[in-house]
Point group: C2
Chain length 148, copies 2
DNA sequence: CTTGAATTGTTTAAGTTTAAACTATCAGCC
DNA sequence: GGCTGATAGTTTAAACTTAAACAATTCAAG
């Protein structure tokens, strides 16, 4: 529902796009991540496991950059994953400021088991759009999302 | 950066669109809402003031629906706004389960003062896209975001 | 060597968010 | 009237998030 009155035509158009973008993301993430509750995983925890799965061991700073979250948050997330033995920290001897955070076997097993469902959720949801539309959406979001 | 290996072509395409969408929204909201900190307003508080500004007095349930947040959250948000005398609750005599939540004069003044900056932030950010692209983005997000 | 700046990660305090249990109110039905 | 179910809002506990202050480590310049 477009908001009313204030602003010129150009602002109105930008607002409409903005509102649609936010609501869409909220709806889609809510739908695609709902299944994580069954594994007692928060979105941040899942994102961390996923990053380690795809990229291999990372230091916390790189995890934070990847998830767009604060360093303190990553400390908490990794703490909680470590308590469940899904990841482990290893001090890097060559630079003892770093931890290398890596999946354990249990963590590997968990993320391997969950990923298909997650990807399927996303693919099913995105299938509302044609392949061409998916590419269009990707292009527009990348253009709009460039940091600055 | 596209993730690698798992999944067929179609899943890969959906994933790419999904990741771009999420990162874009994160980047854009972070940029457009940064100015709210100066007024000590959270995004939820601002969203509530904005909804009341555009739509007039609402009950908490309608605010929750509009913001896509839980009812308990709206109670907290309205509590905090009420403490600052930016909104006020009025019991509806015709159905005493409802509160009508409305902007006070102070709240009206605040949101009126802040909105131009907020809209300008959005318009400036969205100006990275051409008018046609903004409409395309809106259309795609609306199509993708339909609840289900 | 040593001083100091920069970087990594931790802690703390405060605020946000949710789900679930709870109270209050309403509407329909006997 | 009194019961029943539905709805609006509140409360509580737990989890998540952040900014800011902090400690540990590295590295470069003197």
């Amino acid at each position: 529902m477009p908001t009313h009155h204030q602003g010129n035509k150009q602002e109105q158009q930008a607002l409409n796009a903005y509102i649609s973008l936010l609501r869409c993301t909220e709806t889609v993430t809510s739908a695609t991540c709902r299944h994580l509750a069954a594994e007692k995983l928060s979105v941040g925890q899942f994102g961390t496991l996923e990053a380690l799965y795809h990229l291999g061991p990372l230091c916390q700073r790189d995890i934070a950059k990847k998830l767009l979250k604060s360093g303190g948050n990553v400390t908490t997330v990794v703490d909680n994953l470590e308590k469940r033995a899904l990841v482990e920290r290893r001090r890097m001897p060559e630079d003892r400021r770093y931890y290398s955070v890596a999946l354990t076997d249990v963590g590997q097993e968990l993320i391997t088991r969950i990923m298909p469902r997650h990807i399927d959720n996303i693919a099913t949801r995105l299938a509302v759009l044609s392949p061409q539309e998916q590419d269009d959406l990707r292009r527009l979001c990348r253009k709009l999302g460039l940091t600055g």
